[in-house]
């Protein structure tokens, strides 16, 4: 005898049919990320809503999918399937996918030259430096950024401690003032097109042009200075007068050897003590005095 649904069953089926469109409506409301990822004391997931990234696509779960992708399967099957884009640590997507999520928006300005940059060549992920699920990304705080760079670039971190240095270790100048960690078209991912342009951003008084130029100055500051730090005063590569005598050997005093006999206790010489050559030739970055041909005025 065939079985027929009872009246009660018919009613249930009818009600279910009525609810189906409502379910569909619910599905159109968007992903249910926040149904499972609820605020928890030990989880930082919701901290992103205290940042600008939490407002993407109108905020809420839409902000999640703007970076993690629609993740429909993850939405349905939860812990068993990763979201479309996962930044780890459990299910990290491949590097290109992870970085692609960021580069989809950050494709100009600072990040314009990311492709081919030293950090990209090193297969670094954006999240190696940046923390998104936080109200304030620590690396965007200039005091913490130097520490972040120094954790990998320890050789430079050591140079910053040398007796003569820029105020980088002190946090007044930061690595990113000169370098763009996202890459540049020139050497060392410098922000400016040349080394000198970088230096002259802060030292405009040395820009000139001067009536009497000192040609290595306008060519390359690093011929005489080490920007990260030096054993010698004023970031110099070598202590004078030897430094000057690497390029100057004119008759009389520029050509003479100046040794320890020129120190106090011997016959303290104006060519050696104090500022050595710069005791007289003080305008080494250029002079605008009509009588300054020898860079003394």
């Amino acid at each position: 005898m065939p079985r027929h649904p009872t009246s009660r069953a018919r009613i249930l089926i009818f009600l279910a049919a009525l609810l189906l469109p409502l379910c569909g409506q619910a599905a159109d409301d968007g992903p249910g990320c926040l149904d499972c990822h609820t605020p928890e004391p030990d989880s930082h997931v919701h901290d992103i809503f205290a940042s600008v990234h939490g407002k993407l696509d109108g905020g809420g779960a839409a902000a999640c999918t703007s970076c993690h992708g629609p993740s429909a399967t993850h939405d349905r099957r939860g812990r068993r399937v990763p979201p479309d884009v996962s930044f780890g640590p459990r299910w990290p997507s491949d590097l290109e996918t992870r970085n692609g999520a960021c580069l989809a928006c950050h494709n100009n300005g600072e990040q314009l030259m990311w492709a081919g940059s030293p950090h990209q060549q090193e297969n670094m992920a954006c999240t190696d430096c940046h923390t998104l699920h936080t109200g304030a990304d620590p690396v965007l705080d200039k005091n913490q950024a130097v520490e972040m760079c120094g954790s990998c670039h320890t050789k430079v971190r050591a140079e910053l401690q040398l007796p003569s240095h820029h105020p980088i270790a002190e946090g007044k100048t930061v690595c990113t003032d000169c370098h763009n960690p996202h890459g540049g078209a020139g050497d060392a991912a410098l922000r400016e097109v040349t080394v000198n342009d970088n230096c002259l951003d802060c030292h405009q008084e040395k820009r000139g042009p001067f009536l009497w130029e000192h040609e290595p100055v306008s060519e390359d500051c690093t011929l005489c200075h080490r920007p990260h730090g030096s054993v010698h005063d004023r970031l110099l590569v070598t202590q004078g007068p030897a430094l000057c005598q690497q390029c100057h050997s004119a008759a009389f005093h520029p050509s003479l050897p100046y040794g320890g006999e020129n120190l106090p206790g011997g016959s303290a010489s104006r060519y050696v003590v104090g500022k050595n050559c710069l005791n007289c030739h003080s305008q080494v970055h250029g002079s605008n005095h009509p009588s300054g041909a020898r860079l003394t005025r």
């Binding site: 809503f49 081919g116 297969n123 007796p163 405009q204 820009r207 000139g208 009389f252 050897p257």
Partner: protein, 756 residues
């Protein structure tokens, strides 16, 4: 021949290492895919991130830190840049405040070092993806060695006491001791900035920025009086600094699907409040004053365009170019500030009216013709063209001698500079997550009015990176560069600077300034070898170890006099241990050694300027017996350690220690001339211990207490200052500054209040 062999070496090495590339390339494609799947991709071994600054809780909406600190003594090395150079109490004031609950807009504010001369702050407001406004201020303070004394008083005009009596030599000046006073060598920068950027639509964005900065304080500079070099007297002078600079920019960026452009027009103006520094002559106050010109006002307009064109998934072009016009028309000072100097000829013009056009271009073409093969072709150019008048300047020497005749006039000279660099890097990914790369670059540099018209350099770089295991990486890089200079035109500078009358009056063989056998190293022939080795190892998940070795050798093989060679060696080790998110410990150590060798020849002018006459007795300029050499060696040892420890749920500890020990040596020798006997310099040693520690105790959800402590000990014995009193050198009135020898303690106590 030797050079050719050296050229062949890297090429041969490239060939050997390229063999696996070829074999890998010819392997079946399916095998490549399997390899890639099985091995995964190269992943850098980064140290685990240390806990962020424990003062700031990223989940709090606002936090303010207020307290007081105490510095144990006046100093100029510890407080060189951090605003803590004075003994006594200082205010601790820091703020982090943000809000993002107002629709799609947000803002954040930051203030640091409120109670110090290094205070800075920033306020940023934005509407997500649409608008961003930023306002900021930044103060910096730099103090330098302030242990010196000077008898001068005043700002841009330095005066000596009315009863001043000098003399030919600094020894025994009767009024010197009573006139000496201390002065602070300190510079303060204060900068205000504002910027705005707005999205016009999905592709276009406009941005603009403005900043105004002042730099004021007292520096130092040397001032000289002389009629010729043998009659030179000098004095170190306090330099009054009053700089102002303004910068403005406006830009437009475009983000298409394949084309991205970022263009900007920029202005930068520099205004110096002081045109000159004038000072009394301490050697003979009745002889009249001297003056030097301070940096001239100048301005620069620049256009810059950078961009990227993604031609296909495997090809993209990147470029960054700029064109700038820098100019200055600061009015000239008089020939001399000294009314006693006889002037017979007017200035050739009232101001320099100089302009220089600076063009730059960096371009890269990135290609990936095969999945594992990458090519980067690059081209860089830099052009510096002067558009300046050229005049004769018969200038009086050192505010002491009368104006000379036209024959001794010197001409200002333009140093146009043009460089072009082109090359390519080829990189291939091999098994074991390895990458082999080879780069060739060719650079040509042309300079006007210098001893070398043109230099050409070939550069070869071979790099190999491998990650045979997921916890180990090795990177090896070797480079060879060979720079060839065109004919060394030792007389060029003579012709460029001097007057025809003088040139004609000088025998051909004496028309030089630098010795004809002398080469300026940065445009001399050079062979440069460089090697680097970096190893990274993560023996366990919470450990990260690194070793770096680098070495460079510069051989100026065609230079007889001047810099002839230098070597740079460096060893570096670092380790970090992060067993949990609550504890991280890192340490590093590095040793550097830099050596350079330079030669010179001591010679006088007059009849003996002829460097080519070989007859007894030899003129000094052509006598190799008058050669001398200088070997300089700089070494540094740096050690450091850092601890971040969340000791308990409510107690965070931080400690950081750095030790730096440096040594600079210069040893001299002479070839044998009886009047040349240079002595070695005593070594210059510096030693630094810097320890910082902090403890943050979270009393409750809103309030924390923090203690900061710093110990700083630094001393040096630079011979330029060692035992140098104001009047130690007869022809130099120095500051008599002492080498730093500081032991400083700093203690700070503060409260941090948070709100949600």
């Amino acid at each position: 021949m030797k050079a050719k062999h050296r050229l062949l070496l890297p090429l041969a090495a490239a060939g050997v290492l390229a063999a696996p590339v070829w074999s890998a390339d010819t392997a079946p494609a399916s095998q490549d895919k399997d390899d890639a799947t099985a091995e995964g991709e190269y992943t850098p071994l980064l140290p685990s991130r240390a806990t962020a600054d424990s003062r700031w809780n990223a989940s709090s909406r606002g936090q303010v830190q207020l307290g007081a600190g105490y510095t144990s003594d006046d100093n100029f090395m510890f407080g060189q840049y951090n605003g803590l150079s004075s003994e006594g109490a200082s205010l601790i004031g820091n703020l982090r405040w943000r809000d993002s609950n107002s629709g799609d807009s947000w803002w954040r504010a930051r203030v640091d070092d409120l109670g110090l001369a290094t205070r800075e702050g920033q306020f940023t407001w934005g509407k997500a993806g649409k608008l961003r406004l930023e306002l900021g201020f930044d103060s910096q303070s730099q103090v330098r060695n302030d242990s010196g004394l000077t008898p001068f008083r005043g700002g841009d005009t330095l005066r000596l006491p009315g009863d001043w009596v000098g003399g030919a030599d600094t020894a025994g000046w009767p009024g010197l001791d009573t006139a000496l006073h201390r002065f602070d060598r300190e510079l303060d920068r204060d900068k205000l900035s504002a910027s705005i950027s707005a999205a016009l639509n999905a592709q276009w964005r406009v941005k603009a920025g403005f900043s105004y900065e002042t730099k004021q304080g007292t520096g130092d500079i040397g001032g000289a009086f002389y009629s010729d070099a043998s009659q030179g007297d000098a004095a170190l002078l306090p330099l009054d600094i009053d700089y102002r600079s303004s910068e403005a920019n406006i830009g437009l960026s475009y983000s298409g699907t394949r084309l991205f452009l970022d263009g900007a027009l920029e202005y930068s103006g520099f205004d110096n409040g002081n045109d000159a520094l004038t000072w009394d002559n301490p050697y003979d106050i009745t002889a009249g004053p001297g003056a030097l010109a301070q940096a001239p006002d100048n301005e620069q307009y620049r256009g810059r365009l950078s961009g990227q064109w993604i031609m296909s998934p495997e090809a993209r072009l990147q470029f960054d170019g700029s064109y700038a016009l820098a100019s200055q028309d600061q009015d000239y000072l008089d020939w001399s500030a000294n009314p006693g100097v006889a002037i017979v000829q007017d200035l050739p013009r009232n101001n320099y009216d100089g302009e220089v056009a600076i063009g730059t271009f960096n371009g890269k073409l990135l290609l990936r013709p095969l999945p594992k093969f990458e090519v980067e072709a690059f081209y860089r150019a830099r052009d510096r063209d002067y558009d300046t008048p050229r005049d004769a300047y018969p200038y009086p020497r050192g505010d002491s001698a009368d104006q000379p005749g036209q024959a001794l006039a010197v001409y200002n000279t333009a140093y146009d500079y043009h460089s072009h660099t082109g090359g390519a890097e080829l990189a291939y990914r091999l098994p074991l997550r390895s990458r082999l790369s080879f780069e060739y670059a060719f650079e040509v540099v042309r300079r006007d009015n210098t001893a070398v018209r043109e230099t050409k350099e070939d550069s070869y770089t071979l790099g190999y990176r491998i990650q045979p295991w997921h916890n180990f990486t090795a990177r090896l890089e070797g480079s060879f560069r060979n720079r060839n200079a065109s004919t060394y035109r030792w007389d060029q500078r003579y012709y460029a600077l001097l007057d025809t009358e003088l040139i004609n009056a000088t025998p051909d063989s004496q028309r030089y300034i630098n010795h004809p056998d002398f080469s300026q190293y940065y445009m001399a022939n050079r062979e440069q070898w460089e090697g680097k080795l970096d190893l990274g190892w993560q023996p366990a998940e919470d450990w990260n170890l690194n070793l770096g070795l680098s070495w460079r050798d510069d051989d100026y093989d065609a230079s007889e006099l001047g810099l002839t060679g230098s070597q740079w060696g460096r060893l570096h080790l670092s380790a970090s241990w992060t067993p949990s998110k609550d504890l991280s410990l890192s340490a590093y150590g590095g040793a550097d050694r830099f050596e350079s060798d330079q030669n010179g020849r001591a010679f006088r002018g007059g009849q003996e300027k002829n460097a080519f006459e070989i007859y007894p007795p030899l003129p000094q300029a052509s006598d190799p017996g008058r050669n001398w050499s200088l070997d300089a060696t700089d070494t540094s040892l740096t050690l450091g350690a850092n601890l971040r420890w969340q000791f308990a749920a409510d107690l965070a500890l931080e400690a950081d220690y750095n030790y730096v020990d440096t040594q600079g040596e210069q040893d001299l020798a002479a070839a044998g001339a009886a009047d040349l006997d240079p002595q070695d310099y005593p070594s210059v040693d510096t030693r630094l211990h810097h320890f910082t520690a902090a403890a943050t105790w979270q009393m409750n959800r809103r309030l924390s207490l923090r203690l900061d402590y710093q110990f700083y000990q630094y001393d040096s014995n630079d011979w330029a200052l060692r035992g140098l009193a104001v009047d130690s050198a007869g022809q130099l009135l120095s500051f008599g500054a002492q080498n730093p020898d500081e032991t400083i303690h700093y203690l700070g106590a503060s409260a941090i209040y948070r709100w949600e």
